[in-house]
Symmetry: C2
Subunit: 620 residues, 2 copies
């Protein structure tokens, strides 16, 4: 393999890539079977015990988040984020329906925990939607989404949401260049009219709302992955880019022509200052900074072609980029970069953004023998880095200070990201790493042509890395984060808040009020009945006229753990979940005349089956 300053892709490697995925010899996997008994014990969490960590995996084009326990690798929960979820009624009740804004799917990529002083604080989880250009925040007290922000002027915020050291910002760089506001423009005008936009989003903990602080108009390239600085580099952040060739067709070939692409290195404190000083244009209500006009915050660092991951070391001193079409990881020094900026060691400009001199910023190229397709790097508590090798299907452990390879473990197959326990924080735990494999092939009982993805848990505590559990996962976990279980403090029952709008806590207060064509039902769900009208002969029946808008405001007055009620209207395509102590609103137009059973969908008691009523719709 040719080893230059910028490693070029070899013919052999190019052959592998166009052939796509190739499957490593599974002999390596068989070896893990030998010592099965002790591995079995390591991952076994019997009833009465609980897992040590939560793993939150992005659900990719499911639009949702999957919650697993580690080390058992059991899937505990699906949390709906960008896609409606029938099981919980997410997208049916008024609040979640409005949050989703008519979109029926999303493509949830990289989730990120909120941080305090660079440590996961267990309060919130952020995620972005590549499909329909959104950001979301989930409250870890309730495991429900609090807010969704539609991001203007951009298309495919892929590598977000990564957060700064004290959750000041999430940065959402866009994967697909489009004209500002996604306006129509010919591809012949790509270099002049298309832009790559990075959005800086803040989270207001009081209002629980996400807000667009500002955007930066970057060159028309694809922005891929990213990380925030830490400690001495805390004011900075890094993003990888590809297609700096600005190809407009057949990117498979045309976006891999040049030997180098870039890392975008930016100082968000400086950008914040520029915005305060009015150094932006307003487009579509968004403040957009133009780095060619307002200099001093953004630089480009040359990197081996088509980089994918870029990861900041826990001490904040280095950032490591992996070129998926290059065989090597490149270690860059923040300190060297700061020096180069100070001394203006520039190698020209691109779109008015200074390009730093590669040799002045690069510290080391790390090229483990026969390792192919490095993608992402995670860290432990002892100064080691762990890089996934997509093509050679393995994880390579290496020393960040020396570049020395210290261990390798095969995984099955084609790992994209990996995630270490607390691996993106300033103090990783070093106990486990999970490989997020893109290809499962024959790992599990076959479920037809469409296979699951596969996660493999690797024990880092022994003298050698060892795969100790293999878990299928629905498509498609792009990234995950792992947090210590005791950092998350959920609430089990929502508070009995008698002042909450539309809530009803006493049977005699349940009532049906007509306002013109609107029928408001202020009702109760309890074991094991619905009470819509506390004074009626049939308290669990609602009668309306065809064409009326029916608005159900329902409160679950059972303040007991795990007593969730469902509320479904048969043949009216309506269902929602009401958690203990919760009030929810559902509204729909009763446009079909007839007799429609109402029933509880969430098993709640021995008489759950009897928890039903009727919606009677009198014909016009």
């Amino acid at each position: 393999m040719k080893k230059g300053i910028i490693p070029a892709i070899s013919g052999l490697l190019a052959g592998f890539l166009t052939a796509g995925v190739f499957f490593a010899n599974t002999d390596m996997g068989e070896k893990t079977v030998a010592n099965a008994s002790s591995d079995a014990e390591k991952v076994y969490v019997p009833f009465g015990k609980q897992d040590e960590y939560y793993l939150f995996a992005s659900g990719g084009h499911s639009g949702q988040l999957f919650v697993y326990g580690v080390p058992s690798m059991r899937r505990i929960r699906t949390v709906p984020v960008f896609t409606p979820d029938a099981a919980t009624g997410y997208g049916w009740d008024k609040k979640s329906k409005e949050m989703l804004g008519g979109y029926t799917w999303g493509d949830l990529h990289h989730p990120a925990f909120s941080e305090t002083k660079g440590e996961y604080d267990g309060k919130y989880l952020f995620a972005t939607d590549v499909a329909n250009n959104r950001a979301a925040v989930m409250d870890l007290k309730t495991f429900t989404v609090e807010d969704i922000l539609n991001v203007p002027n951009t298309s495919g915020p892929h590598c977000a949401a990564f957060v700064t050291e004290n959750t000041e910002y999430l940065f959402l760089p866009t994967r697909f260049p489009v004209p500002i506001n996604r306006e129509y423009a010919k591809l012949d005008d790509f270099s002049t009219k298309y832009k790559g936009v990075m959005s800086a989003v803040t989270f207001n903990e009081q209002t629980k709302k996400l807000e667009l602080a500002y955007q930066v108009a970057l060159p028309p390239w694809s922005y891929d992955l990213s990380d925030a600085g830490k400690k001495t580099s805390a004011d900075w952040a890094v993003l990888t880019t590809y297609n700096t060739e600005e190809a407009t067709t057949n990117l498979e070939i045309n976006a891999s022509q040049k030997d180098r692409d870039y890392i975008v290195l930016f100082n968000w404190k400086e950008l914040e200052k520029m915005v305060k000083e009015g150094k932006y244009d307003t487009v579509n209500g968004a403040k957009i900074v133009n780095p060619a006009k307002h200099k001093g915050a953004i630089y480009l660092v040359p990197v081996a072609k088509s980089p994918h991951g870029v990861d900041v070391t826990p001490d904040g001193k280095r950032f490591i980029a992996s070129g998926k079409l290059a065989p090597a990881m490149t270690v860059f020094s923040f300190e060297k970069a700061f020096e180069a900026i100070k001394n203006k060691k520039f190698d020209g400009e691109k779109y008015g953004i200074p390009v730093l001199d590669y040799a002045s910023v690069m510290e080391r190229e790390v090229n483990p023998p026969n390792a192919l397709g490095p993608l992402h790097t995670q860290f432990d508590d002892k100064g080691f880095a762990y890089t996934t090798m997509f093509i050679s299907s393995e994880i390579v452990k290496w020393n960040v200070e020396t570049g020395e390879t210290v261990d390798r473990v095969p995984v099955q197959y084609s790992p994209g990201h990996s995630v270490a326990a607390e691996g993106d924080s300033v103090s990783p735990d070093g106990k486990y790493i999970v490989a997020l494999n893109k290809i499962a092939k024959d790992s599990y009982l076959s479920v037809g042509p469409s296979h699951p993805e596969s996660m493999q848990l690797i024990d880092l505590t022994g003298s050698k890395m060892k795969v100790i559990q293999t878990a299928p996962v629905d498509p498609e976990p792009h990234y995950a984060q792992i947090i210590k279980a005791d950092k998350i403090k959920t609430i089990e029952v929502l508070p009995k808040d008698e002042k909450r709008p539309n809530s009803v806590w006493k049977q005699e207060d349940a009532r049906i009020e007509r306002k013109g064509n609107e029928v408001h039902v202020y009702g109760i769900a309890m074991r094991s009945k619905f009470i819509f009208d506390g004074k009626a002969e049939r308290k669990d029946v609602v009668t309306v006229k065809q064409g009326d808008k029916v608005i159900f405001h329902l409160t679950n007055i059972d303040l007991d753990e795990d007593i969730t009620h469902g509320f479904a209207v048969n043949a009216y395509n309506q269902n929602m979940e009401i958690q203990p102590g919760e009030t929810k609103t559902m509204e729909f137009v009763a446009d079909k005349a007839g007799t429609y059973p109402i029933y509880c969908t969430n098993f709640c008691s021995a008489l759950h089956q009897e928890m039903s009523g009727y919606l009677l719709v009198e014909p016009k």
Copy 2:
């Protein structure tokens, strides 16, 4: 506890029921921890090995099916059935969108395998939708839904789909009485205008279509669970009913007034004959048999109040009903029932249907001490029955011949159904039973007020039953079936069928054709690019005019295992999966002008990220 011919509910028991779920002391659970090492080994399936059984769990109000491996209890796959699924694009491509018919959720209850001679044959899986009154069939070669049938005249087919011994019929009895065709009728007219309708559905293996054969107009009661006869009882089937009180409000209290409800016992061969002879009325295109007018096929068997499960023994000689408000299981004899019918041992009629004399049909009441809330019964290969006890949170093993209790195991908590390996076939395996617990409470890391459900795997091979694995599951598995892994033969790649309509296999055949306002794209998805127009300069770009209807016909020409492509249009809320060798169609109106990236959502190669293009929509 009072023990009569029909056991009445005791005051103590009634107290438990109105209090809802109660949590058994978890000391019992702690005991299972002691021998963790050997249990761990029993359930551990390392990479390179596969599970022994598939478990298919109904996904309840998620509308989907969950596929697990046994004994690992790992969730391998979510198969979308009644609800759109963003991850696979189910509900976005033309075929699945039309099958779903505008419904965006379902409530999938009891799944059932197709059978040949009473054995699971591994060919198809059937399921019903309580929410929107549908039945579905899934092909186990591809793990995809082939057909969905909208069932008229009924509301909430709960206890289906159970199949007869050679999959002649699935029977879909309705849970909610409604007027025929769900027409509007006052609840004061409940006994005269409302009906409980049972639907007999056939599956045509040639056309892969479900068809409504006939319906039966039953009394206005709620039909709950059911089973088909086997061997000597193969022409018969049984359903439980509750609310024979015909209460129209507050069923929690009013549907539990009488000491007895009924099992409906019917001869489907006889019904088939009646239909052939024209003994039916046609309503809404459906043939409806009125059992009061056409006698000889349907009988009522008195049973302890509010029964839930009814299960036929593997030898087909007995059926066992469990009264959720009674402490006992009741064993009935088919032979005795046939005798009673022959000798007209009737105890009056209900709605013209003869009621069999209880003592003439009943064989034994089984009342294990301190066991409360029996719901469902499964079987092993040695003549033992296993009944879930919802209130006392346990599974009781007992001898069907003698009624003797031989073992009990606590489960956590509140089991509804349980499912044994091949447990509904004529030859259960007897190795495992899985408790489907309604309440997880503190079994797993907390995920907020809304907890998962919980499945527990019980080893039946030792001298005592033992819980050896505990697995969370998304809401809400009402039932499951377990089949030997080697019975299912999936295909990994769909055949290269060059005559398939709209398919394109060569790059030069990819083309874009305009027909008036419609733009048809006949394209290819392959590693790692889209080809929409084989002759264009930019082969991966589609340009249309605002308001055009765009129809993408895409073929995945990668005929390799696990190389699935996705096809998404950014900001247009569109995504679908195209399996290896598959052709799929997606159509939408390009009503928004602008620039919209197209990208592959299913990771397919090292250059997956580059597999993209543009939809350009010129403004009007």
